[in-house]
């Protein structure tokens, strides 16, 4: 588990560094997705499987898809007709694909090494989290739901074009 932590930490740092230095927003987004996946692996090695799954589903899934929507809406000229653009696309994909490949190799390595039971710190599974969420933190859950409702209404109101033609803005 030690090597898994260090490798994914290195991948996360490298990918995050690439995010803040890219010029093209779409390329930065690809690196950010790889960074979030690497952080999810870090969560798993720290013994937090629920949070690792949520990181992949909500962060790398839902929130990044929102970014993709908006970036695609803002520069519509990026077609894929000519071969030069496609070659550039392949070059842009190479870096994130390489880092994702490192993560995949790490997954295979961990699966092959530890066999049935993963070693490492004792995992805090979903059950204690749920008991805590609906026990002492119940007020926080309600506040979060109100926050999400407010964000839903606010995003709808802001993204609506003047009077008519309601705009899409998804809430997770």
């Amino acid at each position: 588990m030690n090597t898994a932590f260090y490798t994914s930490a290195a991948v996360a740092l490298l990918a995050t560094l690439m995010v803040i230095t890219r010029r093209n927003a779409m390329h930065a987004l690809l690196y950010l997705i790889v960074s979030l996946l690497a952080v999810a692996v870090v969560f798993f090695t720290l013994g937090a499987p629920l949070v690792a799954a949520l990181e992949v589903i909500i962060y790398a899934g839902a929130i990044m898809v929102l970014f993709v929507f908006v970036i695609m809406m803002l520069n519509p000229g990026a077609g894929e007709g000519d071969p030069a653009a496609r070659a550039q696309l392949l070059r842009a994909c190479a870096g994130p694909a390489l880092l994702a490949l490192v993560l995949l190799a790490e997954l295979v390595y961990v699966l092959a090494r530890s066999g049935a039971a993963p070693t490492g710190p004792a995992a805090v599974g979903p059950k204690p989290v749920a008991v805590l969420l609906f026990g002492p933190y119940l007020l926080g859950v309600e506040l979060a739901s109100i926050l999400l409702l407010g964000a839903l209404v606010g995003a709808y109101h802001l993204a609506r074009r003047s009077e008519h033609s309601g705009h899409e803005e998804e809430e997770v």
């Binding site: 740092l13 995050t16 803040i20 937090a48 929130i63 979060a144 606010g154």
Partner: protein, 102 residues
């Protein structure tokens, strides 16, 4: 945390947060600023999970769930604002929104 010292996890969280901070301060494209804010929130959540793993408590994961909800709502409103800014100024530069009554 028998295998990896908690300091390394916290150092990773701090490094991620720092890179997000640099991104917020250095970039002028508002989409990049939002991405950097996501990086910062992620780093903060990682610090909570590391601390929860250090003491074998679930509180860190609960805090991460709250940060997740916060990030989701922040990004929904933020991206709606980005669309408004683009329709108003046809640019994504944060400096183009430096005046009120735009």
């Amino acid at each position: 945390m028998a295998t990896v010292p908690a300091e390394y996890g916290l150092a990773l969280a701090g490094a991620l947060f720092l890179m997000g901070l640099v991104g917020v301060l250095a970039r002028r494209n508002i989409v990049f600023v939002l991405l950097a804010i996501e990086i910062m929130l992620n780093g903060a959540g990682l610090a909570f999970v590391v601390a929860g793993s250090r003491w074998q408590q679930a509180d860190g994961q609960v805090m991460f769930l709250f940060i997740l909800a916060l990030a989701a709502s922040e990004v929904a409103v933020g991206l709606a604002l980005v669309l408004r800014l683009y329709h108003l100024h046809t640019s994504l530069d944060t400096d183009s929104a430096s005046e009120m009554r735009g």
